[in-house]
């Protein structure tokens, strides 16, 4: 058995989600069709919508199903900017630790759509600098996007403060909560946010479906056009199978959140203790290093001084442990993480960071495997550091 410690990349599907997906795979029906098969499919989608809404403190009408987190982020950032901007309101504020789905969308707005983008600094733990935020915020602000919790270092942001102040100046406020939902309490209605992104596969549902929670009063311009599904902002045939699996996963993840978060946080801290025992100069990055409650329960970002992260990940892989350097990268080349850089971690230090992320299937046996293989892995990686 491999030790899978990359749950922040994607986490195994929960049995309830597998059952829901499997059941729906055998049925036929387009939810937009008026006949019996269509109505049956529609019912599954609307049941799913209501369950997701109920578990996250939202109204069913506020749930816009999308193809995943990246799509929801793009719809939020671009769609809200297009709907909200006018001659005097073109500022877009994003934190320096956003996922590329938000950060690059904002950059694109700046490059092609006349937006003025401000990237907001974070402190050494990765938490938004609220003073800088207040200084940047004003009547010209169209959109604010600050993630709920960071995928690389786990830091949880002061989303309620961000939302309150953004709304006070009439800006649309969005949060990418892909890593947060199902792992820390998230209540959309109480958050003060206008828009919130979540995705199924980070909490035990299938890949390929997510949602943007959007207040009914928040105007969005469509990113993709077509049949007018999902409040006319997200056209495309509704994914019945995905929605069923998504809702089942959200249901379990939120219902079991409190106990599971405590269990994972204890394992996370134990893992760091074990790493420190094997590598005494290992350091912890992000909020988890200072205040365990300010970080995601399952994310552990560890600096192993002198050991290149890509070499550590490769050697762990060979030893049966799945971990990651920062976030997974499609190009396959590890560049120093923009998140770690934003925390003030130097380029060399950032290259020696490995992320372990725990989830609902993690057990102590996974930690024991890390303990067993890490001393040799780090020794070899350090020896290889001289080359490249």
């Amino acid at each position: 058995m491999r030790a899978y410690l990359d749950h922040a990349a994607t986490t195994p599907m929960r049995a309830e989600a597998v059952a829901a997906v499997t059941a729906e795979l055998t049925r036929t029906g387009n939810p937009s069709s008026v006949h019996g098969s269509g109505r049956a499919a529609r019912r599954v989608v609307e049941d799913a919508r209501e369950l997701v809404a109920q578990r996250l403190g939202a109204e069913p009408a506020e749930v816009v199903f999308t193809g995943g987190g990246t799509e929801a982020d793009n719809l939020a950032v671009k769609g809200a900017y297009w709907a909200r901007r006018d001659a005097d309101r073109r500022d877009v504020l994003v934190s320096a630790v956003e996922h590329h789905a938000v950060g690059d969308a904002a950059l694109w707005l700046a490059q092609t759509q006349g937006a003025h983008v401000t990237v907001l600094d974070v402190d050494v733990t990765g938490r938004l600098d609220l003073a800088a935020y207040r200084a940047a915020l004003g009547p010209r602000t169209a959109v604010v996007s600050v993630m709920w919790a960071n995928n690389e270092v786990g830091t949880v942001q002061p989303v309620a403060e961000v939302a309150r102040e953004a709304r006070a100046v009439g800006a649309v406020v969005h949060s990418d909560a892909v890593q947060a939902v199902g792992h820390v309490p998230v209540h959309f209605g109480a958050s003060g946010l206008d828009l919130l992104t979540l995705t199924a596969h980070k909490l035990g549902g299938p890949v390929g479906i997510g949602a943007l929670l959007a207040r009914r009063s928040t105007a969005l311009t469509s990113v993709q056009h077509g049949g007018g599904q999902e409040r006319d902002v997200r056209s495309g045939t509704l994914d019945v199978v995905g929605a069923a699996g998504f809702a089942a996963a959200v249901d379990v993840a939120v219902a079991t959140l409190e106990a599971e978060a405590a269990r994972e946080a204890a394992l996370r801290d134990e893992l760091f203790d074990r790493i420190r025992a094997a590598v005494p100069d290992a350091v912890r990055h992000g909020a988890s290093g200072l205040d365990p409650a300010a970080g995601l329960p399952g994310v552990l970002s560890v600096g192993l001084p002198g050991a290149p992260g890509d070499a550590v990940v490769m050697l762990l892989d060979a030893a049966g442990v799945d971990a990651s350097t920062g976030s997974a990268c499609s190009a396959g080349v590890t560049a120093p993480s923009h998140v770690l850089t934003a925390l003030g971690v130097g380029e060399d230090e950032a290259r020696s960071v490995v992320r372990f992320s725990l989830g609902h299937t993690t057990t102590r046996a996974d930690l024991e495997r890390v303990s067993a293989v890490l001393p040799d892995v780090v020794a070899r990686a350090r020896a290889a550091a001289a080359y490249v």
């Binding site: 190009a331 396959g332 590890t334 020896a383 290889a384 001289a386 490249v388």
Partner: protein, 362 residues
Amino acid sequence: MKVLAAMSGGVDSAVAAARAVDAGHDVTGVHLALSKNPQSFRSGARGCCSREDAHDARRAADRLGIPFYVWDLSDRFAADVVDDFVAEYAAGRTPNPCLRCNEKIKFSAVLERGLALGFDAVCTGHYARLEGGQLHRAVDEAKDQSYVLGVLTAHQVAHSWFPLGTSTKTEVRAEAAARGLCVAAKPDSHDICFIPDGDTAGFLDARLGTRPGAVVDLDGTHVGEHEGTHHFTVGQRRGLRLGVPAADGKPRFVLDVTPVTGTVTVGPREALDVTRLSGVRPTWTGPVPEGPWRGLVQVRAHGTPVPATVELRSAPGEPDELVVETDEPLSGVAPGQAVVCYAGTRVVGSATIAVTRPALVP
């Protein structure tokens, strides 16, 4: 044995990795990212560094069921290969970047990193053979790549493996197809991977600018102008744009490039003939031969080997010098090129050509 298979995304390295797997070794594939911005390099065609190549390498590794990683060597490649290439041209020499990449990247940075990580050997798709631990030419003479491996040291040879040396290219392609590797029909790479459009002069202009100078005849007669000595390499005939025809009406060739004065010297083909040359920074793939010895030398990747007497001269306080006297003249030998020495099919060593003496000079 734990083998690190360097996989470019081409057919040769994929088949080499497959053979390593078949031989029962514990094989890991690694693709070298040689550019920070892979899309800036070639697309569609065949190179070392495009996204398509990384994808093809990954698919081959998937097919073989081996782990696969991309290693970012772009900084090392830029410094050790690209910058060196530009500097060599700026100095009036003619470098071979593939050889340099083998010397500094594939069999140095990658090999040493692999050894430190616990691997025993690096396996590549080069056409060359190892026999009794010694480096030899491939059996497919047309594909033989032993020349670009001539810079390897004994240590590097001892940790290298070239599974394709006993096969022909045709056999390798057929084997790739039989194994279901999608790269079976992929075209060979030819040009310099970091100059995808093949416009070496334009690439150098962008880095060195234009530096006008004179083209002169062997007797010093001014016969034309040029926009930079880096546009010329010894032995070149085309692109001289000379206003004054040669007295004998025969074509003229570049004989010498002198960046300091900005002078390009041209003359008849016979003046390119060289029988004696001196190399610096000698390297040896095995034991260092003592005294003068008889062998074969080759001065370009697909050049014809010629019989020669070779001698390593070492003097205290002086850099080692490899002196080569060929039995028959070599044509168009430029400083900066590598001279690779063979004993029969065995690669003995190499040196970087520093000085040549024309056959006409007594």
